[in-house]
């Protein structure tokens, strides 16, 4: 209940909140919350770019992403791909259910290579029948 309230308070005008938890040359940890659809795509990219360049490793907490569309999925994919090509490390943690749904349907679990946590009670919301094996050539990011 309390968590819920905090979350709402931190949502910006456009339904999006991006916040840096920890910033450094080695690792930057950030959190993206709220509406991660095409309407905020440019904003999100701007935010990530700022820290992506500065650190060798970027950790994105996606637990607060409550609305997404394919543009956000693509953005995540683009990050992973670029990281693989430029010897950086990008990981996504604490994926929210909407994010997991996209990763599931689009078969990107192995491609992203992050640990996915699906709560027991949410199991039947997902299939995870495929996309669990890395496909060479499908993504530039083969590192785990």
């Amino acid at each position: 209940m309390m968590d819920d309230l905090c979350f709402r308070l931190s949502v910006g005008e456009n339904g999006l909140e991006c916040k840096v938890i920890k910033s450094g040359a080695d690792v930057t940890e950030a959190e993206i919350k709220g509406d991660c659809t095409i309407y905020n795509a440019a904003e999100i990219k701007k935010f990530i770019s700022k820290y992506y360049d500065k650190s060798d490793s970027l950790v994105l907490n996606l637990s607060g992403v409550d609305e997404i569309d394919s543009s956000f999925f693509q953005l995540l994919l683009a990050l992973k791909k670029d990281a693989g090509e430029s010897n950086k490390r990008v990981s996504f943690i604490a994926h929210s259910i909407p994010v997991l749904k996209y990763i599931d349907l689009y078969g990107a679990a192995a491609m992203f290579g992050d640990r996915l946590v699906v709560k027991k009670e949410d199991r039947d919301k997902f299939d995870f029948r495929y996309g669990l094996k890395t496909v060479k050539g499908a993504s530039g990011n083969e590192s785990r």
Partner: protein, 746 residues
């Protein structure tokens, strides 16, 4: 674009498709196993089918469908290429052309044509049923994109020609604006779960740029899906899922066990490189390694089908050392050619011919006023101004040349249409003829190309009909059974030469001579040289064909050919050796509208020689003895015939005309000024009063009143508004030759 103009484009393009179909069919006769031509054929027919359907020409679509099915069979190697197949296909081509003609003229298709189509459809189907008998175990053909075909997903069909994959394969690529349209691919793909099970989805990320260049609002990704459809779900139902995607999206749906070929086509249709897609397909288990390699071999020209600029499959494969170089080299070469052609086509735009003509008229006016300004500037001392004008004049020259160039088109297309003529004619007459084309890329004025078609057609028909012997006769003469007709085009001293030569029996001197005597053209026993004699066959009413055949000899003969070519300011020349063959050579002017000219005066009148026919202008002193023996003079050792234009035009009066009152500055002496010209490999000199120099001229026709005028081919307006007449050099050279020769013989 409104419907009418869209239709116009449809008819235009269909005609082009049909022409390529015909070309490919004729090529197929010689290269029966060339997959490339078969593929091309299939595509052309498919295009007609599709676009005719769009405009509601159902009869065209229906017929094209049957034709396409047969070609698909040929493509898959189920139907062999035979002469009969090509004949039926040619007939099908004719029939479709016929239907499209009716559609364009908005006429109902007459019953007899409809029944002709039914007969053809039966014949086309006949070829297919043969294969069905041959391969009974094989399931119905599935066309790459034909929505009506379906295959049960639990197919037990022999998979020897299809891939192992027992799932539907779906490729999705989206327009780059799909995210902003509010359509999320997630929902389409998710919906598939309602009609089956998604077996595999692979995001295709190759198009995503580096993160710094990444535009999050543009869609770069695509998906490759394997899908296990529920019972009763066919291609249409799957396609329906993606119905709301806009035109810039690509949706390819391949049924289970599709032919490797179709995968190959799909690979070509996708924007990513073949290696990338190939990798995805093999690693996801969609295709086996062997199947992918098979796709490679079949790949041929398909990668040029879409508009994308991705590397050719074979090229990539070669680079990646996936296949031995020797295998690919030939195929690569071919692909490059195809691609170049395709690129050529893509870079061109269609322009209404009237617009070009209007532009040319305007440029003509520009040239005239430019000349006018230049002339006036010559009378002032303002050097800055003259320099500026000089520069402008150069630009005007360039504009003129570029404009004229717009109208230049290669003759090759016209030549190609004769392939069919020769093929049909020789088949009907039981002759064997090969048509060899050279110089197809020689360019000439579009109007000329159009106007030369009929005369050329007549000459080609004549060659097959009268020139070429029957195979038996040829063998008896020690010639090859198969005769050769060569079409050749090239540039030569300011003109374009088109040659039609055959290795047939040649003209019969005796028969033509006899006919010439009978027609009173020569008196019996008179000595006539070959060229003069051959040229007589182009006189009206002169025909030596002993029997009137279906093809030629219907009363219109070489005289019509000559008349047509005359009207284009061209010249026809015949060379022939008995038993060895005949060459008919046509010289045509480069262009019809604007020329560089050389201005002279004769009896105070201004005349223009087309500059590209002028070799030189010089002073000359005639030896009186020369004159007695015919009008010859010697120039640096070469003996040339000459003619005084003044005497030709004004006869004895010429002597009495005072020629010194104009342009006095040019007549420092009393020497004769002579212009040496060359055309159609003949040279002659023309004596004039004064040489005034070069100028640009816009040729204005003299009009119908001067239809029988032989020495003047047109007129031009000088900068000061004065009219100068353009000398018809080709005709005059011919005249000088004949005249001098005959005089000499007296």
């Amino acid at each position: 674009m409104n419907l009418d103009s869209a239709k116009k484009v449809f008819f235009l393009e269909s005609r082009e498709n049909l022409q390529r179909i015909e070309e490919n069919l004729l090529t197929l006769l010689e290269n029966a196993h060339d997959q490339e031509f078969i593929n091309a054929l299939f595509r052309e027919v498919h295009t007609i089918k599709g676009s005719a359907g769009m405009f509601g020409y159902q009869d065209v679509t229906n017929f094209a469908h049957v034709f396409e099915n047969l070609l698909d069979g040929v493509r898959n190697g189920e139907v062999g290429v035979s002469d009969q197949l090509v004949e039926v296909s040619l007939a099908s081509h004719d029939y479709m052309k016929n239907l499209i003609d009716f559609a364009e003229n908005e006429k109902a298709v007459p019953d007899e044509v409809v029944s002709e189509g039914e007969v053809l459809i039966e014949r086309l189907k006949g070829f297919q049923s043969e294969t069905e008998n041959k391969e009974k175990q094989k399931a119905a053909l599935i066309n790459y994109e034909s929505v009506e075909s379906r295959k049960p997903q639990t197919s037990t069909a022999d998979t020897s020609t299809g891939v192992e994959n027992r799932y539907w394969h779906i490729s999705l690529r989206f327009g780059e604006n799909i995210f902003t349209t509010g359509l999320d691919p997630f929902s389409f793909i998710g919906y598939l779960k309602n009609i089956g099970t998604i077996v595999n989805v692979i995001p295709v990320t190759q198009q995503i740029p580096e993160f710094k260049d990444f535009n999050p609002e543009i869609c770069y990704i695509g998906f490759e899906l394997d899908f296990d459809a529920d019972k009763g779900i066919d291609k249409v139902k799957i396609m329906d899922v993606f119905e709301f995607l806009t035109d810039d999206c690509t949706v390819i749906v391949l049924p289970p066990h599709s032919e490797v070929d179709h995968y190959c086509q799909m690979i070509a249709d996708l924007p990513e490189s073949a290696v990338q897609i190939g990798d995805i397909l093999t690693q996801s288990g969609t295709l086996t390694k062997a199947e992918l390699e098979e796709a490679l071999e079949l790949q041929s020209s398909k990668s040029t089908d879409d508009g994308e600029n991705h590397p050719l499959l074979g090229e990539v494969m070669l680079k990646e050392k996936m296949i031995p170089e020797t295998v690919m080299e030939a195929a690569l070469e071919k692909q490059k050619e195809n691609r170049a052609k395709e690129e050529q086509r893509k870079r061109s735009i269609r322009i209404d011919a009237d617009k070009v003509d209007q532009l040319i008229t305007l440029v003509g006016e520009l040239v005239i006023s430019g000349a006018n300004i230049k002339q006036r500037i010559g009378q002032t001392d303002d050097t800055d101004l003259s320099e500026a004008v000089e520069q402008m004049a150069r630009l005007v020259d360039d504009v003129r040349d570029s404009t004229m160039y717009i109208r230049m088109v290669p003759i090759g297309e016209t030549f190609s249409t004769f392939k069919r003529t020769v093929h049909d004619l020789s088949r009907d007459m039981g002759k064997q003829v090969e048509l060899v084309i050279n110089g197809g890329d020689t360019e000439l004025d579009k109007t000329l190309v159009e106007k030369i078609q009929d005369p050329l057609m007549h000459i080609v028909r004549n060659a097959v009909d009268h020139g070429i012997e029957s195979p038996e006769e040829r063998l008896a003469m020690g010639k090859k059974e198969k005769a050769v007709i060569r079409l050749n085009a090239f540039h030569e001293s300011g003109s374009i030469v088109i040659e039609v030569s055959d290795d047939g029996k040649g003209l019969s001197r005796d028969r033509i001579y006899a006919k010439a005597v009978a027609n009173g053209l020569v008196t019996s026993g008179q000595n006539v040289d070959d060229r003069t004699l051959w040229n007589m066959i182009m006189l009206p009413g002169f025909s030596t064909a002993e029997k009137v055949t279906d093809i030629s000899g219907r009363g219109v003969g070489m005289d019509v050919v000559k008349k047509n070519i005359d009207s284009l300011r061209g010249v026809v020349d015949i060379e022939s050796t008995e038993k060895q063959g005949t060459t008919i050579r046509i010289h045509l002017p480069l262009t019809l509208a604007i020329i560089d000219g050389f201005l002279v005066t004769v009896a105070n009148q201004k005349y223009v020689f087309p500059l590209d026919m002028v070799l030189e202008c010089t002073d000359v002193e005639f030896n009186q003895d020369d004159k007695e023996g015919g009008n010859f003079f010697t120039l640096r050792g070469e003996v040339l015939p000459y003619l005084s234009l003044g005497e030709l035009f004004y006869g004895d009066n010429f002597k009495n005309i005072d020629k010194t009152n104009e342009n006095r500055v040019f007549s420092h002496d009393d020497k004769n000024k002579i212009v040496i010209v060359e055309y159609a490999r003949k040279r002659a000199g023309f004596v004039v009063d004064h040489l005034l120099g070069e100028l640009q001229t816009v040729i204005k026709p003299l009009g119908k009143l001067f239809y029988n005028m032989h020495w003047i081919s047109g007129a031009t307006i000088l900068g000061n508004g004065e009219v100068a007449l353009i000398i018809d050099v080709p005709r005059l050279i011919e005249y000088v030759g004949n005249n001098v020769k005959l005089r000499g013989k007296k």
